[in-house]
C-alpha cells in the first residue's frame, strides 16, 4: 500500500474540515458581545476636567505683511468694535518697450481699470469714492522682501484721477474705471515722440514711480477689495487713427512687481475697548476689555490663551492625557453684520508673542472644527483638539505659563482680509477640557 494513514479520500476529508474550521472561525463577531460585563474589573478611570484657568488677552501685532496678496483694498469702515479702519493700496507699473504710435494717431482718453474680488467689508450699498495719486518715491520693500500694513510712501497731494460710484461687487463683468486723461495724454505724447523717459525700464520707473489708490472726497462706508495682478489692475490709453474709417487702438500699462503691491492700513482704536492696547505694550487682558478678546485680520489682532493652572495636572501620579480640547465660543450677536470665520487656525506663541502654526497629528495646520447652529446661536463654537500640544507642554514636567496659544486666521487670510471674531471670555468661559486616564 502506498501512502500511510491518509489516502486520497482521507486527505479530502481532512482538508474539508480544516477549511470548514477556518470558515466557521471567521464568523465569530465579538464587537457586540456584552455578556460578562459584571465580571470585569476596571483598572483605569477616565476623568474629564474643564476647570483649568484660561487667561485671555488680545495681542496687537507690530505689523502684518500685506505685499504680494493679489488684492488691493481701498476704503474706510468704522464701528465701535474695531474703531475706524482706513485702507490705501500701493502698486507700481511695469515697463514695456512700447510699440510705435502711428503719425495719424489721435489721443482719446485714459483710465485705470479695477476689477472686483469677493472680499468686501462694510456697507457696499453706499456711494464710494476712490482717487489715484502718483507716488513721488519708488516702492522699496523692506529687506527687499516684504511690505507691511504700516508701510507707506510719499505721493502727490493732488489726485491724478478720481471716481465716485455705487459698488457692484458681485457682478463679475463690471469694472470700476478711474479716468486719468491728463496722465494718459502725457504718456501718449511721450511714447509717440519716443521720449527717453519711456525708452528704458530705468528711465521709465524714474519717471512713473507708482500709484496709490486711496479714498476720495466722499465719506466711504466700506472696504472694497480689487484684484491686484498684472492682468487685472491696468491703465488703458485709448486713441484712434485718423482715417476714413477711424481705427480704435489702445495701449495697456500693467501693474508691476507683485511684491511691490501692498495695502496700508490705518486704524484708530481710541473709541473701542482696545483703546489702550498700544500703551500696554500691544497686549491687553480680557478683564480690561469687557471679558471679550478680539481677532481681526489685517489690523493684526489675535486672541492669546495661556493655561496657568496646567502645571497642576503634574501633581497627580500615574495618568495619561488622552484628549485635550479647546472650546471657544463667539460673543453672541457679534456676528450679525460680519459672518463668523469658517476656518480658524491656531498658533503656539511665547512671551514675545512670536507665533508658529500648530500642526495636527498629520503634520498639517490644525483647523478648528466649527459648529454653526442657525437657530441656537449659543451652540456656535470652535473646537480644537490640542492633545499633542498639551502632552508636549507637560512632557518635561515643567509648564512655562508664559507660553500659550493664539487663535487666528490662516497666515494668508490674516494678511489679506478684515475677517473678525469676538471671543466670549466669561459667559461661557473659554474651556480647556482635558480627558485623562488614571491607572
Amino acid at each position: 500500500m502506498k501512502g500511510i494513514g491518509v489516502g486520497k479520500k482521507g486527505r479530502k476529508i481532512l482538508s474539508f474540515f480544516v477549511f470548514g474550521i477556518i470558515l466557521i472561525g471567521s464568523c465569530t463577531k465579538t464587537n457586540e458581545f456584552t455578556i460578562g460585563k459584571d465580571f470585569v474589573e476596571s483598572q483605569t478611570r477616565l476623568q474629564v476636567i474643564d476647570t483649568f484657568r484660561v487667561d485671555l488677552s488680545t495681542v496687537l501685532l507690530d505689523s502684518v505683511i500685506t505685499s504680494s496678496k493679489k488684492i488691493a483694498y481701498i476704503g474706510r469702515y468704522e464701528d465701535n468694535v474695531f474703531g475706524s479702519i482706513n485702507c490705501d493700496s500701493y502698486f507700481d507699473v511695469a515697463y514695456e518697450s512700447f510699440s510705435e504710435i502711428e503719425e495719424k494717431a489721435i489721443y482719446d482718453s485714459s483710465a485705470f481699470i479695477l476689477n472686483y474680488t469677493d472680499y468686501n467689508f462694510g456697507d457696499t450699498t453706499s456711494l464710494m469714492s476712490i482717487s489715484i495719486h502718483r507716488l513721488t518715491e519708488k516702492i522699496e520693500p523692506y529687506d527687499r522682501a516684504y511690505l507691511f500694513n504700516t508701510s507707506s510712501f510719499h505721493y502727490e497731494s493732488h489726485a491724478t484721477g478720481m471716481v465716485s460710484f455705487y459698488p457692484e461687487p458681485h457682478s463679475s463683468d463690471t469694472a470700476v474705471s478711474i479716468p486719468v486723461n491728463a496722465l494718459g495724454e502725457e504718456l501718449f505724447n511721450l511714447i509717440r515722440d519716443k521720449d527717453e523717459r519711456v525708452s528704458t525700464q530705468e528711465w521709465f520707473t524714474d519717471y512713473l514711480k507708482g500709484f496709490v489708490l486711496t479714498s476720495g472726497t466722499a465719506e466711504n462706508k466700506a472696504l472694497i477689495g480689487f484684484k491686484a495682478s498684472s492682468e487685472r489692475l491696468v491703465m488703458r490709453i485709448y486713441y484712434h487713427l485718423d482715417k476714413e474709417e477711424p481705427e480704435k487702438k489702445e495701449i495697456t500699462i500693467k501693474m508691476g512687481d507683485a511684491a511691490h503691491q501692498f495695502n496700508n492700513v490705518k486704524f484708530d482704536l481710541t473709541n473701542t475697548a482696545l483703546y489702550n492696547i498700544k500703551m500696554e505694550g500691544n497686549e491687553v487682558p480680557s478683564t480690561e476689555t469687557g471679558n471679550q478678546v478680539f481677532m481681526q485680520g489685517m489690523i493684526g489682532l489675535l486672541p492669546k490663551l495661556r493655561f496657568p493652572s496646567l502645571q497642576n495636572v503634574l501633581a497627580e501620579e500615574r495618568w495619561k492625557i488622552l484628549k485635550a480640547e479647546l472650546i471657544i465660543e463667539p460673543v453672541q450677536y457679534s456676528y450679525d453684520l460680519f459672518s463668523l470665520p469658517d476656518s480658524l487656525y491656531i498658533y503656539r506663541t511665547d512671551k514675545e508673542n512670536r507665533r508658529a502654526v500648530l500642526n495636527n497629528d498629520e503634520s498639517k495646520p490644525m483647523i478648528a472644527s466649527f459648529e454653526f447652529d442657525k437657530y441656537l446661536p449659543e451652540n456656535n463654537r470652535y473646537t480644537y483638539d490640542i492633545t499633542s500640544y498639551i502632552n508636549q507642554e507637560l512632557f518635561d514636567a515643567y509648564v512655562d505659563s508664559e507660553n500659550g496659544l493664539m487663535v487666528g486666521l490662516n497666515e494668508d487670510k490674516l494678511e489679506s482680509s478684515f475677517e473678525r471674531l469676538l471671543v466670549e471670555c466669561k459667559h461661557p468661559r473659554v474651556k480647556l477640557k482635558i480627558y485623562y486616564l488614571s491607572y
Binding site: G7, G10, L14, K29, N31, I35, F39, T44
Partner: protein, 407 residues
Amino acid sequence: MLKLTKTYILIIFVLILGPGAVFSQTTTSPYSIFGLGYLEGNSTGPSKAMGGTGLAFLSDRYINSMNPASYTGIDSLISVFELGLFGKYTIYSTKHENQSLLNANLKYIMMGFRITPWLATSFGFSPYSSVGYTINTTSPIEGSTLEYPKTFSGEGGVNQVYIGGSVNLIKGLSLGFNAAYLFGNITHRESSELFSYSLEDATYISNFNIDYGLNYQLDIKKWKYNIGLAYGSSKKLKTNNVTTIETNYETEVLKSRKYKYSIPQNIGAGFAVSKGFFRAGVDYEWSNWENVEFTNSYLRTRNSGRYSFGVEFPSPGLNKGTSRMVLYRFGAEYSGSYMIIDNIPINYGAITFGAGFPLKGVISVLNASVELGQNGTTKKDLFRERFVTINLDLSLWDLWFRKRKYD
C-alpha cells in the same frame, strides 16, 4: 515509511514552535476571565464521545493521555498519530438576553508507539487551559454625565508539550508518567477605541509538571476489568508580567504586577469493563482548587469534582470485527467546577455521543462526537452557556515496525 513518520514529527514540531499561530484562542467564554482560563481537560477522540471517560481505559489504536499508564495498551505493531479539531457553537444567556458565538480550532496533536513489548511512549502538544473573551461595556467619564464604550478582552492560555512513558511491570499492571512543560501567556486588556488607549496586562507562564498513572487489568473469563488511577501534585507556575499602557502619544511599560498561578493537586480514579469490542467505564476526578489563589475579587474557589460515564459498542451484523466496523459511543459528564461567583457555584454538565468511522482503504479512523452541554446558570446576574461542540479526531495508524521489513 520512516520518512512519513518523520513527517509527523516535523508537523508536531512546527506546531509546537509556532503555537501562537495555531493554538491561539481556542475558547470563547467570559468565564475564562478567571485564573488560568477555561480548563481544556485531556480527554481525546473516543473519550470525548463517552462523556470524557477514560481513566481506566488502556490505549489501543488511539492515545489516551488521561492516564499515562494506558500507553502500554498501544497496539504493538503500529504508531498512532492523532489530530483533534473542534467547532463550538455557544448560546450565552442572562435573565434578559441571549447572545451567541461560534469558534473552532485545532485541539491537540499527539503521537504514541511501543518501544519494546513492555515499554510504550507518547508525546504531543495540547492546551492545558485557554483564555478568550471579549466583553463590551460602558464606563463613566468622571466629571461629566457621559459614558464611553470600553472593551475588555483576554486571550492566550497555557499549553503543554509532553512526553510520557508507560511500563508493563507484571501481568496486568502498568505504571506511567507524563512529563509536561507548561508554557504560555495570558493577556487581559481593557481598551477604548474612542479615546485610543489600551492597558494590556500580559503574564508569561511556565513550569514543568509530572503526572502519574496506574492501570491494573484483571481478566475473568472473556471479561476484562480495569482500574485506573491518576495523580498530579499541585504546582506553582513561574510568572513574568508585563503591563503596558498605550495611548496615541506614548507607550509606557508599567511596573510588573505579581500574579500567582498554580495548578491544583489532582486525583482521579476510574473503573472499566470490556468484552470484545464492547466497553464501558466510569470516572471520578477531584482537584484541590481551594488552595489556589485567584486575584479576581468576584471569584471564590472550591474543590472541583468531575463524574462521568461512557459506553462503546460495535456496529452489529456482518461488519463486526472487520475493518469496516463502526464503533458507537455515548456518555455523560457532570462537573462541579472550582468557580463560585457571588455564592453561586458554576457547574458543568453535558451528554455526548459519537462514533468511530474507519476510513475506507486506509488504516485510520475518524472519531466524531457531539457534545451538548451547559455551564453556569442565569441565577442572580450570572449567565449560562449552552453549547454544541463537534469534536473531530483523526487517528492515523502507521504500520511502522511491520512495514519497515519490506522497504
